[in-house]
Amino acid sequence: MTAAVLAGDSVVLMFGVFMCVGPLATRPSLQFGVRLPPGYTGARVIRRERRTYRWRSILIGIGALAALIALGGHTSRWPSRLVLVIEVAADLGCFWWAHQKIAKVKSAEGWFAGRRQTVVADTSWRSEPEAFPTRWLLPAIAVIVATVVVGVLRYPHLPAYLTRDDHRVQTSLASAFAVVVGQLYVTGLWTGLLVLVYRARPDLDTADPAASLRSYRKALEAFGRAGLVLLACLDASVLLFALRLWQVLHLSGSTNLLVALPVVAGLVGFLVTVVSAGRARAARTLAGVRAADRDDDRYWKGGIVYVNVDDPAVLVGARVTFGWTVNLGNPIAWLLVVGFLAIPVGLVVVRLATGA
């Protein structure tokens, strides 16, 4: 097993566990991407679909684990990628199934009929915005600086060829320092996304907007910190990879797995934070509330994808656990998606075209 395979297998396991608990850790007024009015949050169809989804997602997770064990000992990255794709498709299929069942009953019984549907904004969110946790960015920057320093000191002593994975490349500034460019790219992109997230509109419950904003601020703070810790862990994994590439660290056999450890640990911490933030927001009750949130299901495709051309927001609160998604009805959101994908896709195309 290599570090890349360990990372791939870990992602399969983490995604499996996340999909078992994530969709169930959402606010009572949002179940499987369906907006619910007060009084219907404990409806029979919802209890039934939650139970069914729980069992199905557990079975999918066990199935994925069994597939990884059956494929054990492989050194290619493809088996875990294939298992991941099947797992994602199966979990999303179960989510969509529950979404359809609830939406059908909601529509047939007219749960929102005759209700006042409101949208609420708290102006204190803009007058006293949540400060971006800049201090938590320092570990990631420190790791990048350390990588550059080691690289500069080591460069004159590098051999004529560097061994990367299973192929050799000629030593040059580009081949030796590509890892630093990778660190800078990921750090810049992720930090930029987090800054946008800090400016996104908070998803508030009409039932108790003030308490909802307080819980949103807490969840956002935890999310921001965990996100920046994940970034530092990712940069640390790249640093370990660089140390191996520059022959500072001589890893062989199972010690190679060390390279993947920081990023796997960071991902576990990040997902745990996301799910606990979702659970903390879900813990609030809606007892005794008459006003309902706006029934905006028509803008949510499958309860996951948001498309609303009348909404000027680029990022909006996701309907699963705690997170954000883009408004595909806004051209700026498309630019964001294209910008996000352009470099990785470009690199793959260049790689395929040159056969490197």
């Binding site: 549907q117 409101t118 904004a121 708290d122 803009r126 509109r201 009409t206 907007p209």
Partner: protein
């Protein structure tokens, strides 16, 4: 300040924004000198077109409740502490009030019930500190 609107309601959204801000000024939540969010920010937070927010702010500006500057943005210009209203305002308001009270009477609400509602609502507002005789009559 909490701004709650009904996007699919019968009252136009810009009117709802204007009404909520007037109520916030009356309760003291938005006193003189306090800033309101920029139109684009409020539009994003409510998920509506920013021209709609502009229209609501413009109504408040025409009524003398809001000052809109390039640098300072939208700032509350008057509240219960700013003295009596301008000439002619009270007559205009009284005619609108007459319609509201007529609705209640036509629907069968007694005079005591109507006055009770008025007292409860005014009790939740900021006390008028230098309103003069005009404001005194209004309350």
């Amino acid at each position: 300040m909490l701004l709650s609107i009904e996007p699919d309601g019968s009252v136009p959204i810009y009117q709802q924004i204007r009404d909520r801000i007037v109520e916030a000024i009356a309760t003291g939540e938005a006193p003189v000198g306090s800033g309101l969010p920029a139109t684009r920010q409020l539009a994003v937070d409510l998920g509506i077109n920013f021209h709609t927010v502009n229209k609501g702010y413009d109504l408040l500006r025409q009524e003398g409740l809001l000052r809109i500057g390039r640098k300072a943005g939208a700032v509350v210009q008057r509240d219960a502490t700013s003295g009596p209203p301008g000439p002619g305002w009270e007559e205009d308001w009284a005619s609108r009030l007459r319609t509201m009270l007529a609705e209640a009477t036509a629907q069968g609400l007694t005079a005591e019930a109507i006055i009770g509602h008025c007292q409860d609502i005014v009790a939740g507002f900021m006390p008028v500190t230098c309103g003069g005789p005009a404001a005194g009559e209004a309350s």
